[in-house]
């Protein structure tokens, strides 16, 4: 389908990503269903299957998923200019909100009640992160394979106990993944990856 790329279109593209980003609390995957609803269902600018591909690429590329997915949507609709528009739309709400939050934080961080609330919330956030780690670990370890478990244990020990540089940990585990894949291919059962 062809969309007229006039000023109105760019404004709509910006306003759409700005609004979606402003309501994506906690970041991450929350933005995906919101984007799908807007660009696939409401505006019909992108079809369902494309959106899924965008999410897949957005996940495997470095950087925040929200930013990556919006770049892909913008690029698909209006090339590099479109991507720039959607990146600005996505980044602006947290930039504005966190600037304000920073000023309030500086103002209130010596307040005893605020400190008590923050201390309480740290426990809540720790619980939320642990819950997410359990869910992610279950997903990665699904199928009972040994290698992911070993990699996970080794990476955790390297990061937490030995404070190994994170780049080395990520690079090494990517190399292990590649080596194992090619070893399996050579042995002729590469179908199961």
């Amino acid at each position: 389908m062809t969309i007229k790329k006039n000023l109105k279109f760019y404004f709509k593209l910006f306003a759409s990503t700005f609004t979606i980003s402003a309501f994506t609390f906690g970041g991450g995957y929350v933005i995906v269903p919101l984007m799908r609803k807007k660009f696939v269902e409401k505006l019909k600018w992108i079809d369902e299957k494309e959106m899924l591909d965008f999410v897949a690429i957005g996940q495997s590329a470095p950087g925040p998923i929200a930013v990556n997915t919006s770049i892909l949507v913008g690029h698909r609709l209006a090339g590099v200019a479109g991507a720039l528009v959607t990146v600005f739309g996505t980044v602006l709400p947290p930039l504005i909100v966190l600037s304000a939050v920073f000023l309030l934080y500086e103002e209130f961080k010596s307040n005893a009640v605020v400190n008590a609330v923050m201390a309480g919330m740290r426990i809540g956030v720790a619980a939320v992160i642990i819950d997410a780690v359990i869910t992610m670990a279950k997903d990665v370890l699904k199928g009972g394979k040994v290698l992911p478990l070993l990699l996970m244990a080794a990476a955790f020990a390297a990061a937490f106990f030995f404070k190994v540089n994170l780049i080395i940990i990520l690079g090494a585990s990517a190399l292990v993944g590649i080596a194992v894949t090619f070893y399996r291919l050579k042995r002729g059962n590469g179908a199961a990856s």
């Binding site: 590329a61 947290p94 923050m118 994170l166």
Partner: protein, 192 residues
């Protein structure tokens, strides 16, 4: 040159946080707390907490917060720009190449290896934050006091509620804040 440093540090955060969501957590902690000393560990924990309650990805939120602290509004803009620059370059390249290489065995192998490592890095950052949340430091305290036990019990309850009832994490964070305030007033009154 603080602006260049901010850009470069958050460029690395953007480049190395693979997998979205909490994947940025260990990278931000590494750059901002360990390498540069821009935030203390408890300030970092606060930034993560505030990120959970405000819109936008943690990496962008942290960029803005740290940028504001170190270099005002311009610092915030520079740090945020640094954070999204790798995404802009890499994702645009991927958009061009996706159709061609998506089934390449080497790429799939690399991703298979990266996934468990990313989970492990998030777990490591999570444990560090946990120690700060429960004991106020990076290590276990020599003596576990009454306050610590209350914190541990609360943590266990929150995790149980999250796992069993799958509630929106926002409620847990808001609720834990309210409990923190209540505990403050209560312990003041009881003289604990």
């Amino acid at each position: 040159m603080i602006y260049l440093l901010l850009f470069w540090s958050f460029f690395q955060v953007g480049l190395l946080s693979i997998g979205g969501g909490y994947a940025a957590l260990p990278q931000i902690q590494n750059q901002v707390v360990e390498l540069r000393g821009w935030l203390s560990l408890s300030e970092f924990a606060d930034v993560v907490t505030l990120s959970q309650m405000t819109p936008g990805p943690i990496a962008i939120n942290a960029s803005t917060f740290v940028g504001m602290k170190m270099g005002g509004v311009f610092g915030a803009v520079v740090a945020t720009a640094g954070c999204v620059t790798p995404s802009c370059i890499i994702v645009l390249l991927l958009a061009f190449m996706y159709a061609k290489y998506k089934n390449l065995q080497g790429v799939r192998g690399a991703l298979d290896g990266l996934r468990p490592a990313v989970v492990a890095l998030i777990a490591s950052a999570g444990v560090t934050m946990l120690l700060v949340a429960l004991f106020g430091g990076e290590t276990l305290p020599p003596v576990i006091g009454a306050g610590h036990i209350v914190s541990i019990v609360l943590l266990a309850v929150y995790i149980a509620v999250l796992r069993v009832f799958k509630v929106n994490p926002l409620y847990i964070i808001a609720g834990s804040g309210a409990i923190g305030a209540a505990w403050y007033f209560l312990s003041g009154r009881l003289g604990l």
